[in-house]
Structure formats: C-alpha cells, structure tokens
Chain length 302, copies 2
C-alpha cells in the first residue's frame, strides 16, 4: 500500500510541491481554502484525496505538510479549531514549509509536543521555479530523527536540504537569507543608480562589477531586470516585505539590531506605498530612481 | 630600443605593477617619496631609472602612470609644482590608476588637455594579490584612442580591462564597485549575526545561503573570515572608508542619494574609531557583534 501524506495550502508553491509527492507515489490528503483547487487536484489524479479540515487531514495522515502565507495561518491550521493538534498524537509529524516567524515555529512545535506529536520547520528558497523543478533549498529545524523521517519527502521537492538546528532554526536561517537578498539588492541598486546617472552605461557596470569582489547572485540573475525596468515576478515585493518584518522581529527577540535591514525594509514599504507590491523584488531599484529623479530603464512594467 | 614608461607611486600596489612593466621589457622611469624604495628598484634591475620629480619623469617618458593614495596626491603630482603638467605636451599621456574622486580625474584631464596632453583614469580592483599576479580588473575612462595606446601596458598588469566611458567614468565605476562591496559586507554581517546569536551554527548559514539567491562573492571569499574573527588584510578598512567618502561625494555631485551606503560608511567610520582601521574590511561584522553584545568568532586578530 502507498504511504499517505497530508498537504495543506495549495498556492503557487504548494501546488507543484504536492504534485511531486503524488507523482512519486504518495497518497496525498489535501486541504486548501480554494474549493476549485481541490476539485482540480482530485480530478487530476486519484492519488489526491480531499479533506475538509486540517483535523481531517491529520486523522488520515500521520505526516502533514503545510505551505501557508504567514505565521497566523500556520498557527490557525496547527493549533486552531479543527486544527492539526486535535487529531495529532504519538507518531504524528507536522512539517511546516511556510516562511513564518521563528517564535511561531517554536510555539507550534511546543504545543504539538504537548500531545506527543513532533514538528519540523522547513522553509524553502528557490521560488516558484524551484518548486516546479523540485529544486528548492530546504532549511530544516527540529530533531534529527524527525529530519530523517521527513527526508524522503524533502528529496521529492528540493535539491539542497540542510538540517540547520533545533526547532525554529530553519525559520531563522530563512530570515537570514531574506535579509541578505534584500540588502544585496540595495547594494546593486545604489551602485547602478550612482553609475548610470553619472553617465556610465549600466551594462558596463554590470560587466565590470560582475568580474570582481562586488559580484552577487542577485546581480547575476537580476541585474538585467534592474536596468531594463522589467519587473515581472519572480518573487513579489509584498512577500519579501513580509519576510523582512519576520527578520526584524527575530532580531528584536534575539537582541540583534539590524540597522541596514531596517532601512531597506522601509524601502520595501515604500514600494508597496507606491503601488509596486506585486512587482518582482528587483524593482527595489525604482525607489532609488525616484530618489535620484532619474530612470535607468524603461517605464515600469509588471 | 626599449619603450619607456614613467611610474609614480611605488606602494603596496605600485611595486608589483612597475615590476611587471620592467619584466615585460619597458624602461621604467620611477619616482616615489620613499628614497629607499628607489634604491631597491634601481639596484634590482637596470630597467628602472630614478627621477627626482614628477616633472622629471614626464621629461623622460611620454607615458606616465600614477598609483597614489588619494585625490590630493594625484592633483599635486599632476598639476602641482614640478608636476607632470610642467613637462607634458602634445603626445604625452597620463594614466592615473589610483582610486580618486571622479571630479578630480576630470579636473586633471581637463588641465592636461590645456597643454595638449591626454589623460586616462584607470582605477583597479583585485588588491595586492591582483597586482602581484597581474590579474587586476581595470576600469578605464577617457578617449578610445588613448585607451588603445595604453592597452599594451594594461595587459601587463591586469586581466579584465574595460573601457567604461569618458574621462572620470573609470573612477565612477570604481566608486560603484566599492559601494557594492561594502553594502554586500553589511548584508552578510547582518545575516550572520542574526542567525548566530539565535543559536544557529554560522558555518551552516554560510552553506545554505551560499547555495541560493543570497550568495555573493564577499560571502564566498570572506565568509570564513567573518565568522572566525581573523581579519588580516586583504583590503584595509581605512582604504575602503576613503573610497566610500569618494562614492558619497560622487553621489552628492551627481544628485544621487545613497542612504544605505551612507549608513554603512558610518559603520566604517566606527571601525576606525574602534581602532580597527588596519584590519581587513570583512571586520565590518565586528560592529554588529558590538551592537548585539555577542561575538561569533574568536578575539579580534589582525
């Protein structure tokens, strides 16, 4: 008989991730707020089984993955009414792959431990393309034995899977990742606007800086977006803004002042204020174009 | 008969650069403030010829390279008493490879044009290792014909040589480079301190973040320095601080606000205030360690 796994949250990321599990032979018990998505999936393959609530999922599957927008949704699904906790017990494992606050990950893990269940926080990076290509990076926090148990599932969805520490550590590392990406965007943006407004061809700036210590993955993959003014996501500003809030709160909790992240976070707020929350995060450069009253690329385009 | 080239400024960078030219067969007319260095060089090879002033160098060589600490020194050597300008005329070429203000590069170039001489600004990146291995990146501003004339010299000292625009453009791109490197250090530092103080092994943070969009050359090459507390230069804080001042001034001149660079520049000032101006620039992380009252690496070590 095929193994069964639960999957809650079939959004842009969750859809391809759940499909990889079904394609690998798992029976996947699904739940999501959009009823049409449920119908689509159950029509698509008999490996998908609809469940009505998170509790219902946990009754039918000992291992349940969640892929949700933010901390409140994970708390609600895990610990709320008809939540996972009402059906989980000894031998149950909750794997949360959402990006949420480390403190919430620990809160959920602790609550589930109270009924004998286990939990992992396992946020991902790599975006929609990484999810579709089963090439996600997965940073996992929790107990070693639980990570071993989850590994076959992770291997169906990701390529780089690293156990980074105890419960909450996965979310901490994801916050670190989002801090570094955002600030690297600021670095590239300030360099490009300084050079371009001074009259240097921004293509040459990318070429020269890419050959030395200044280079970054952000510049390699998103430099052309930044100078062309084409900002189709990719990864949306509003999601990165949410992740920077998580990082700032984690800094407050841990006692780590993050002055540069705080400033860059304010520019992400400004992007949303300017109506650019749905653009790719490489559109950070437009804030600098506004400040310098100078546009490198074409008119904004989503 | 061998071609002759002048070289003024035999510091950490200038020494190996001048030696590459002599090894390639050029007669190199040298001038520098340190008399011992002059003696060492003339004793080392008869390809080195001592000159007493910049004017003296320009009298003996149609092409003169300068490699000096900052804008005032370049202005003095080029335009001051017994400066290059007193002996330069039609057919003379001044190649300044120092890192200085774009405005000063343009000032020197314009003044030399007044006596019929030409000028290039050609700052480098790659540090002492790049100079020793003739692997510098050289970003060149000036006229195409002058760049062509200088190219055989550049090829003896560097690997990546890009003509980025008119006079001053080389210095602009160098300023962009230093902005991006400094802010990428801030990005890595905030990510590492956030994760490490929250209890995650910093080695794992480097491993996971290095595999994704967060990666940077700074993290690849200097991540281990940052978490080990070993900060032997490399590139000294005080020099990077100087370069950030140049970038901020260039931003002011051009009308480009650089808020993140401004903040990071203040942290470089703080490093100097703390007596760390002679450490490698990766020591930026120590400012965050101070702010968070938490040390990732060992005690500071130069």
């Amino acid at each position: 008989m095929a193994e069964t796994v639960g999957f809650i949250g079939l959004g842009i990321m969750g859809k391809p991730m759940a499909r990889h599990l079904a394609n690998a032979g798992y029976d996947v018990v699904i739940h999501t707020l959009n009823r049409e998505t449920i119908s689509t999936f159950t029509a698509e393959s008999n490996k998908f089984i609809a469940a009505s609530t998170p509790k219902d999922v946990a009754e039918r599957a000992k291992t349940v993955i969640t892929m949700l927008p933010d901390s409140p949704q994970v708390r609600e699904v895990a610990l709320g009414e008809n939540g996972l906790i009402e059906a989980m017990g000894e031998g149950s494992l909750h794997i949360d792959m959402s990006t949420i606050a480390p403190a919430t990950a620990i809160e959920v893990s602790t609550a589930l431990a109270g009924v004998g269940a286990h939990a992992l926080d396992a946020p991902v990076s790599g975006g929609e393309a990484g999810a579709v290509n089963a090439a996600l990076s997965i940073m996992v926090g929790g107990a070693e034995s639980d990570v071993e148990r989850a590994m076959p599932l992770f291997e169906k969805m990701g390529k780089t899977i690293v156990h980074v520490g105890a419960s909450g550590a996965g979310q901490v590392v994801k916050a670190c990742n989002q801090v570094m990406v955002a600030v690297n965007y600021a670095a590239m943006s300030e360099a490009l606007i300084l050079g371009a407004k001074a009259g240097v061809d921004p293509e040459k700036i990318l070429q020269v800086l890419g050959g030395g210590l200044a280079n970054s993955r952000v510049m390699e993959l998103k430099g052309q977006n930044a100078i062309s003014g084409k900002f189709a996501p990719g990864f949306r500003v509003d999601l990165h803004r949410k992740d920077l809030n998580i990082a700032m709160n984690a800094g407050k909790t841990t006692g780590v002042p993050l002055p540069v992240t705080a400033l860059v976070q304010q520019f992400f707020e400004a992007l949303t204020v300017a109506g650019r929350g749905d653009l790719d995060h490489s559109s950070l450069i437009t804030i600098y174009e506004d400040l310098a009253h100078y546009r490198i690329g074409q008119d904004l385009e989503a």
